[in-house]
Symmetry: C2
Subunit: 624 residues, 2 copies
Amino acid sequence: MRTGIATVCLSGTLKEKMQACAIAGFDGIEIFEQDLVTSPLSPESVRTMAADLGLGLDLYQPFRDFDGVTPDLLKANLRRAEAKFKLMSRLGMDTILVCSNVATATIDDDAVRAEQLAQLANLAGDHGIKVAYEALAWGKYVNDYEHAYRLVEMVDHPNLGTCLDSFHILSRDWDTAPIEGINPEKIFFVQVADAPKLSMDVLSWSRHYRVFPGEGQFELAKFMGHVVRAGYTGPVSLEVFNDVFRQSDVERTAVDAMRSLIWLEEQSAKWLADNAGNGADGAAAGGAGLRRRYPMELATLPKVNEPAGFNFAEVKADNTAQLEKLLGQLGFGFEGRHRTKDVQLWTMGQARVIINEQAASHAEPSIAALGFDVDSPVIASARAQQLKAPVVARKVQADEEVFQGISAPDSTEIFLCQGSPDGTAAWTHEFGEGLEHARSAQNAVIDHVNLAQPWQHFDEAVLFYTSALALEPQPFAEVPSPSGLVRSQVMETADGAVRLVLNLAPVQQANGPKTYQEHIAFAVDDLVATARAARDRGLDFLQIPANYYEDLDARFDLAPDFLATLRELNLLYDRDGDGEFLHFYTATVGSVFFEMVERRGGYSGYGAPNAPVRHAVQYDSLHR
Amino acid sequence: MRTGIATVCLSGTLKEKMQACAIAGFDGIEIFEQDLVTSPLSPESVRTMAADLGLGLDLYQPFRDFDGVTPDLLKANLRRAEAKFKLMSRLGMDTILVCSNVATATIDDDAVRAEQLAQLANLAGDHGIKVAYEALAWGKYVNDYEHAYRLVEMVDHPNLGTCLDSFHILSRDWDTAPIEGINPEKIFFVQVADAPKLSMDVLSWSRHYRVFPGEGQFELAKFMGHVVRAGYTGPVSLEVFNDVFRQSDVERTAVDAMRSLIWLEEQSAKWLADNAGNGADGAAAGGAGLRRRYPMELATLPKVNEPAGFNFAEVKADNTAQLEKLLGQLGFGFEGRHRTKDVQLWTMGQARVIINEQAASHAEPSIAALGFDVDSPVIASARAQQLKAPVVARKVQADEEVFQGISAPDSTEIFLCQGSPDGTAAWTHEFGEGLEHARSAQNAVIDHVNLAQPWQHFDEAVLFYTSALALEPQPFAEVPSPSGLVRSQVMETADGAVRLVLNLAPVQQANGPKTYQEHIAFAVDDLVATARAARDRGLDFLQIPANYYEDLDARFDLAPDFLATLRELNLLYDRDGDGEFLHFYTATVGSVFFEMVERRGGYSGYGAPNAPVRHAVQYDSLHR
């Protein structure tokens, strides 16, 4: 698959964008006109630079408001087009995107449109240019890709074809199956964008909220499957207008973009294999013959299943005393120090926490790393690296387990560990033995981990965990906090063994205290007993306001004894049709706190109605 | 008018919110339930604190999903309601907001709803509580305020009335005139919110994008006029869900909120005066009798007309050499130093620029102040102060003009100056005479000023200039820049004599260069001559890329000589149906640059199509 990206997806100057695209490994780019117009680079310099960087200049765009106009306007439009065709010759480009008319069309007649497009195609032919005509979702008269293609067929000129853009098609819920009926020689270009499903006018949705494939909710693999079955072999190019990407580091965004296409390529191949036999090209299709049967080659990736569970969580600090105290009070047992590294192992049942003492001077406690149980760490690491995840190296000595590590977008280190059927981890033998072991809560596990994401990298993180770790994004929620709404995105495995919550914190106030908190939650069988024991050990619980318990009672009509227990132990409670949820939080040290939870019945949530209470109390304790 | 605000409008804890509301001068507040539930304050403490702060506790809200439910659910809902009624007694509150059912209603029958609301009213009566029933814009069955009122009439119980919320009414485009027909004793509460007109689902619109009156596009004065004519005398309370306000400084937001109600009060009185005679209460109405004729008292403000023009602009720096050089090269004449202050006066025609040398050590050049010509500085200042604008004091000595100064939300100092029919300013005599005076460009004026606004204070700035200076907000635009989209809001007078552009810059990158630039634009009669003279004086023009002129030619088909002149002098060009616009920019010093413009014919814009070029070149020069 030939990969491409429009310069409008990225921040910076044209030169910075081109360099970032080359570093990320794109085959070609679309030049968004404004990026050229505002650039000090001459067209000839852009051409040379692209050649030096190994980037094809695949599409010049956009040319707007051409068709369905009065004769006077047509004349001006053809003049304007010719100027751009000449410019494209200097750039060495041969394909231009012409969007269906939004603003100046006054004649709603396919015959007139076809006649005008034929004049444009003739002119383009004189300059060796191909015109890719695209139906915008909000085009005045032409807003459906099948309509655009009908016009291309009417004109029947070698220099006129169509451009398929997934956003314009999927935002309108057009059926994508008819793509397979389009003559592949007439598909001059394919643009892909994903988007969250929003209920707003399609123009604003398109201009601000597009995201890279895998970061939204469109069925892009299916769209691409139809494109591949149509016989298309040209570039598959990202055109993503996004307010955040426009403000983010250009090189990182380009890498994120590339990751999305690599993932889309794999997902498209998978869709084709899963849907062999039900398409235009008959019943003989099968996964094995895929590469030979379609003109477009689809690269694949090392395959991974979703992780079986958390292997460990790692917290880091310059002074680890507070972390040790908290874990001890929660009932974790100290399993000893690593034989070669300055790290400690603390466990409760299968919940393993590493306390890393190798932090920078004065570094406050924070979550540094997460380990996941996978079938094969090497295969999973290979996949992640092909998906452009930066590798994290760990020093190892002889006989020590080699951890395959990659860096998540928020810089958390992700380690891919060898899972075991009984949930144990072989590497724990590298830690000292003969120390006190906790006997309580043998069934304890890491229930979920909540990571705060910087606003620039939230969508990137969703794609990272989807593509590299096979976690499934759930619908996102918004949680009120005293310093703003917190966007909360759950990523989890189908069986709930791994649950990761990505929180987009409100923008930090310049002079305010740090509100950027993360936590690790552990599940136990008996939360009340765990809480009592922790209290007896002197744990500093997050103090829940009395008002909360009154409201709880008003909502759930709880037994007085039970309510009293909740209140006494600062426990929070939630209930839904599937079951019940009890939990409590510790005070925060640095940017970390811990949570203990008990799930009763089939409850699969996170106590979302209680999150505002947690935020408010934490805010209050920071501001007091 | 009794003023109020819902705690959900503000950031922080309940205590912080209440304190900020008291400082801002509100009469009462609505307690948003979540703010109480998450607070460590007992209901009794909240009651005492409110009394100490002089704040009424006017509304407890919201109580959701009560009506149109099955008998089982009704029973649970009544139990839940009773718990809240008891809580309200402890708070000393007597009115609760009940929203029309969104989630749990299954019975769409007014008789059933009325019967269930009657049971609620009876229970409320037992506890001395009044229930204000409100139609949510997205209520499952009840989403129209007239429908909600019909139910209130059907029940006909002293403890059941309705709540009118401008958002729920205006977002659905419901006619507001029938409000006048509602029995005022049955209007238990009125909530006001403004909003920009957005095309999106009404729930998201309501939850994220509400703004304070005067910051959006709703016809709130008319809404309030109908409420006043209905005979309502209760609180008029802000209920504004806004993502930015939730993150902003609580005290500033409360003051901004109060300003919006003061302004709305004046605008409502004005609407009533302007529309006397066409309403429900007959033809005898008149502005003079207003206060006596309606039960609600509406306070007025000192009246001002829109400013006649800019009086001066002031730039400030520790080292002012670069500013002096730039102004000199542009053709400004140095008019001397002030006789008592370390400031210089530079003029070109009626365009006056003060260079202030009294900046902090190492302070880079920036725009510090703007002077506006008003009919009466004292009246305008009184109005601004009643609208909570902070006063700026200037030291004056005998015989010097006293400037009335207020501080804008971005800290720019705004001076209200005595205008003169010929556009001169008396205070210029305080500056030294006998120095070189510019003879060129005698008709030069300040054309517009472009100020960058911090994201927390953008909406506040719109209301500030609307209410204190009588500028009119125009529809906002979005301009692409290499570091993100720039939201641009023009505020101007009807005659265009004062044009202020508020730009919301993209969030600053932690490690990026400062992109926060502001500028002052001067209009001259002959831009080409001005540019040539400036070039001869060695001005450092913002260098416009050659690609721009090619695109300009493709778009406008310009005469070759004219195009060559534009290119030679780094001039930008725009044209619309009304006229033409020529302009150029200087290089930036500190955070300031200057622009020179020439308006031909009736062109009233700002060369918006050229703004991306300006942003890109400025970005490029910062990043090189």
